[in-house]
């Protein structure tokens, strides 16, 4: 069953359209991420679902019922905020007990439930402390416990890890994922960090300027972007201007001819963009057999960057075209010397045509 549904729901502030009419449905137990650049409407969408703002158009469904006019305290949702929003005047126990208290849960049950969820987030020892006596990561785990404790239909999270440093953030991502799998809670997660979206989600909803650009599981979003925006936003990519040829191939900006994956929109003569992920582009070294890659180009090395586990080569092709190749770092694998001749090769299957503007249908 859909836990949350938006039907042609939109929001405008005067002339500003914060969210165009969108449709979305989040299934029970799903982990859905709203991803998009700043100002793309992520928070607006979350607030529409939470009931903090009313939609200008359309309807909102919660657990199958029309909740468009239900006040936020009657929606039975949970929300985790970026700044934790723990009550500073209450102990951790009282914070977690708060939603149960407003529901008039008996004291015995409150004690049991609070202890249970604090265990679940690995913080059984902090019940009597005040929020300011906890670290950021601990506070966020308490905030999560405070949601889990009353078993809401769905937990909404607006950049919950945004205030944490990188290391802690990665740890918390795993923790959130663990709790999600363990309890099968439905979660709607907002982030503008594409890596976070790719690691955590069952499904990513990519927003662009108040519209849903594309949605789907992470691999699909990553390997089958339907627009230049999606290709660019998720992961890094090589994107070149190109013209589609009559034989189904394409000539890219550098003048090189490449074979591409066939797409209905890519008719001969059409202007298009061609996208290849850097990790699919191979540097051909002496002794390598390049014949298994049908697309091959030659250029001059510009630079090589070692980024910990991966290494990136920047190579100059004709006509001011730059191509990036990414490999795993291996000891003994040599950097390219700037100016040296390089051969690069990749497979047609990894060569995606994209519409020059807008997105592919279907």
């Amino acid at each position: 069953m859909a836990m949350v549904g938006l039907q042609r729901a939109g929001k405008r502030y005067g002339d500003v359209v914060a969210l165009h009419e969108v449709d979305l449905s989040v299934e029970e137990g799903e982990f859905v991420t709203l991803l998009g650049p700043s100002g793309s409407g992520k928070t607006t969408m979350l607030n529409l679902i939470a009931g903090m703002i009313a939609p200008t158009t359309g309807q909102i469904f919660i657990a199958g019922k029309d909740a468009t006019n239900t006040p936020p305290n009657k929606r039975g949702l949970g929300m985790v905020f970026q700044n934790y929003a723990l009550m500073p005047h209450m102990t951790i126990f009282e914070n977690v007990a708060f939603p149960l208290r407003v529901r008039k849960t008996p004291e015995e049950e409150i004690k049991k439930k609070v202890a249970h969820v604090l265990n679940l987030v690995h913080l059984p020892q902090v019940a009597n402390r005040k929020p300011r006596e906890l670290s950021g990561g601990q506070q966020q785990r308490v905030a999560l416990a405070r949601c889990i404790v009353y078993n809401p239909t769905i937990i909404l999270m607006d950049e919950p890890l945004g205030a944490l440093d990188k290391k802690l953030r990665e740890q918390m991502q795993l923790e959130l994922k663990r709790i999600h799998t363990e309890l099968k809670i439905t979660m709607l997660y907002v982030t503008h960090d594409q890596e976070e979206a790719l690691t955590m989600s069952d499904r990513i909803v990519l927003l662009n300027d108040g519209r849903i650009e594309q949605m789907g599981p992470p691999e699909e979003m990553y390997f089958k972007p339907r627009s230049v925006f999606a290709a660019d936003f998720l992961g890094s990519s090589n994107i070149w201007d190109a013209t589609i040829e009559s034989d189904g191939g394409a000539t890219i900006k550098s003048g090189d001819k490449v074979k591409i994956k066939s797409e209905a929109f890519a008719k001969p003569g059409a202007k298009a963009k061609i996208m290849v992920r850097p990790e699919n582009i191979n540097v051909i070294r002496q002794g390598d057999d390049e014949s298994r890659f049908e697309n091959r180009v030659s250029g001059k090395a510009i630079d090589t960057l070692i980024l910990g586990g991966v290494i990136k080569h920047y190579v100059q092709l004709a006509n001011d075209t730059v191509i990036i190749s990414q490999e795993l770092t291996r000891s003994g694998r040599r950097s390219l010397t700037p100016g040296q001749d390089v051969r690069l090769a990749w497979r047609p299957d990894d060569t995606l045509p994209l519409p020059a503007t807008g997105k592919m249908e279907g």
Partner: protein, 268 residues
């Protein structure tokens, strides 16, 4: 460079020393009358002299044993407490409406609620007198409580507005989404967090009402006089040395109230 370097700011420049000294002298000048009156209150019973020639607590004994003065003091406390409660009851919700509300004309409402600060006290006193007279409420404690409530509410509003601005609105949002009603959110989240601002505003209202003369002078009559009004009227007939004792007590009260306020502020 020589050896003995001082950390930055360790030595004050001459200008700094000068301005600090001036500031202290101005403070001393302003405080002096209050300090002078304290030794005087322990002087003899027939004269007001500085420095006093004898040490005696007779003036205090007089104050505490004169039924008239005690009754007046009690009236003052009653009025000040009443006005404080009234100011808090009106001021806290008003501040909440101004800070958290989103409705057209909010600025005008705020200006209107704060207007008693802008109107000269004498105008307010006259207005209150005429208004209360039409209810036959002049000369009653109730009337003065209303008048002092009007006078002190804006100060409670201002402190509570500042307090509310320091409370993260997300806390209220979080409470609402967790299922708390508007009332539950207000009483369980907002009010507890606003406690110290309310306390400060309340103390301020209490002190203001307790030593307010102008409005009280218009509205009270002989049987319902407050302490400052009685002090003022008794000065008109004779300069009674007992006033020195009362003044000292008032200074002491203000000091205690301010210390309590400061302590509470520090704790929160």
């Amino acid at each position: 460079m020589g050896g003995g370097e001082k950390p930055v700011g360790a030595a004050m420049n001459p200008w700094g020393i000068f301005s600090t000294t001036v500031a202290w002298f101005i403070l001393l000048f302003l405080m002096l009358p209050s300090f002078v009156v304290v030794p005087m209150s322990f002087g003899g019973k027939f004269e007001m002299m500085f420095p006093p020639t004898t040490f005696d607590t007779i003036l205090y004994e007089r104050f505490f044993s004169t039924g008239n003065w005690i009754a007046t003091t009690i009236t003052s406390f009653k009025v000040a407490i009443g006005a404080t409660v009234l100011a808090l009851l009106l001021g806290v919700p008003a501040a909440y409406g101004i800070v958290r509300g989103t409705y057209p004309g909010k600025k005008i409402v705020a200006l209107f609620l704060l207007s008693p600060i802008l109107v000269p006290v004498i105008v307010l006193a006259l207005g209150m007198y005429l208004y209360l007279a039409s209810f036959k409420a002049t000369g009653t404690d109730f009337g003065l409580i209303i008048a002092h409530g009007v006078l002190t509410t804006p100060f409670v509003i201002v402190t509570c507005m500042a307090g509310l601005r320091h409370i993260d609105p997300n806390l209220e949002t979080a409470a609402t989404i967790m299922g708390a009603s508007v009332m539950q959110t207000f009483f369980k989240v907002t009010l507890p967090l606003l406690k110290s601002a309310m306390f400060a505003g309340g103390l301020f209202a209490f002190l203001m009402s307790f030593d307010e003369v102008v409005v009280a002078f218009f509205i009270t009559e002989a049987s319902t006089m407050t302490l400052p009004v009685k002090m003022y009227s008794s000065i008109k007939w004779e300069i009674s040395p007992i006033l020195a004792a009362i003044s000292s007590l008032l200074t002491f009260l203000s000091l205690v109230v301010c210390l309590i306020g400061a302590a509470a502020q520090k704790k929160s």
